[in-house]
């Protein structure tokens, strides 16, 4: 799929995160190429969110190396990583609740003085996410699904190369989950996607490759079909009902 020797979009070597004596992440090695969609699964507390937090500059790693499109990410803070094209969303929906939807988007657009997305592209994103009718509303008054879409919108205006989504369908109704999966499929046209999920449907339908974390260690990495039949993954995470 990718030519050998091509610079990976994201590459992580021996990444370790420690909280005192506890290893939240233990020597994670991992690569991801542009236009690849990656899924990450694992039980609660296995280090998935910590992994995203380290990569996006919210936590400092204890040791290891990480690179984004060939540039080292060590020592870069969250806002600097946005400049490289790395964006994230949060497990619990996170928007500026007291501000209007429009103001939320405008705030994200402040990042670029001039070289931001074009007005045409902006209108296209708004239309695609069906956010136009709620632009004037206060962000806390719109539905959770709309807030999730607003989160995507606020990332897209940052011209991301990679969006890391932490449980993008958390709390959504079943019908909305299908719609969100469809949106995330279409999102791949604009950016590479890295998604943490507990809903296996999302992983099965979206990810080209799945990484499994358990207790801070990567125990499997491969295509969904292979991962979902891996004995250890079934035993420690999925449970026998999935087999």
């Amino acid at each position: 799929m990718n030519q050998p020797g091509a610079i990976p979009l994201l590459s992580v070597k021996d990444l370790t995160l420690r909280f005192g004596g506890l290893y939240a992440l233990n020597k994670i090695n991992f690569e991801m190429h542009a236009n690849e969609s990656l899924g990450m699964i694992g039980p609660n507390g296995s280090g998935k969110s910590s992994f995203v937090n380290v990569l996006t500059g919210h936590f400092k790693p204890f040791s290891g190396e990480m690179q984004f499109a060939g540039q080292s990410m060590l020592g870069k803070s969250a806002h600097q990583l946005v400049g490289l094209g790395l964006c994230r969303t949060y497990q619990a929906v996170r928007v500026f609740g007291n501000l209007s939807v429009q103001r939320n988007i405008d705030t994200a657009r402040l990042f670029f003085a001039e070289e931001g997305i074009t007005e045409h592209q902006y209108a296209q994103y708004l239309d695609w996410l069906k956010l136009t009718p709620v632009l004037g509303k206060t962000a806390k008054d719109i539905t959770l699904f709309e807030q999730r879409k607003l989160e995507l919108m606020m990332r897209l205006v940052l011209k991301p190369k990679l969006i890391m989504l932490d449980e993008p369908v958390g709390g959504l109704a079943t019908s909305e989950v299908s719609e969100m999966i469809q949106l995330l499929h279409e999102l791949k046209a604009y950016s590479s996607v890295f998604v943490i999920e507990h809903t296996m449907r999302v992983i099965k339908e979206l990810a080209d490759r799945v990484v499994v974390l358990i207790a801070g260690e990567k125990i499997a990495d491969g295509p969904p079909s292979q991962i979902l039949s891996n004995q250890r993954v079934i035993k420690e995470y999925l449970g026998s009902a999935h087999a």
Partner: protein, 309 residues
Amino acid sequence: MKIKPLHALLTLALLVLPFLFKDNRFLGFILGITYLNIFWATGMNILYGFVGLMPLMFAAISGIAAYALLYFIAEWHINFWFALPVATLFASFIGVLLGLPSLRLKGFYFTLCSLIIQSTLTLAFIFFPKFTNGDTGINQISPPLWFGEPIKGYAFECMLALMAVVGIGVSYFVYQSNLGQRFVAIREDDVLAESLGINVVINRVVAFFIVSLYAALGGCFYATYIGFISPRSFDVLSSLNIWLFVAFGGKATIAGPVIGSILLAPLPFLLQSLEAYKDILSGVLIVLITLLMPGGIYGTYLAWRNANK
């Protein structure tokens, strides 16, 4: 940026008022003090209203500027107008340094930290009499000269009026600008703001610098207007008073701090006969505001207007 006729009219009123009280020195003085407080409250609102940090060391920064101003004038034998920018910048840099805890603390914890800084500096004003003349204070401060003539009376009030108007203008400009939008984003959710590419650290430092400029400039004019300063002029009660003007009028709005100052700043003078009861009154006001009108007068009015649209 659009300026409404009403705003222009009110601005004009602020500038014209000193002429009306030209001959009534008592009311004129109250007016001057009110202008100073409008300026201060507008400054504090940039940090408290827009960025969401409550800087209780505000008065201390004013104090540093005032003492520095008098020290520079006395030691270097320089004109007020040369000492003013030096003292203002000096105090503003100290203000930025005092703001550094905000890079790690926010909300209640920052407020507590700023309270400690304020108390420490009040003590420092008392215990470094070389610069401050200690508890006795410095009196008979000569007013600034304008082409050899001392600025006194209503001329000083005109100057303070101009300063207040410029202060409101700058605050309005900041609020409308991208900088102001970033401030509000940081107030609402600093982690989210950071992940949208906003440099929270730099923006907080910039905010502290702007607010310290307000505090310091106000402090320098306060000292020369009143003619007397002591550590008490810049203690925690002064900070709390300015905070009260912001909260009472309506934080995070442009008009709020102005309304709060106009309504509350003259009270201690008009109610002079009540003596200690003034402080009780201001305490009661703080409690009432926090409980009944979290948005302040203007904020409550805006909410009411939106609800009845």
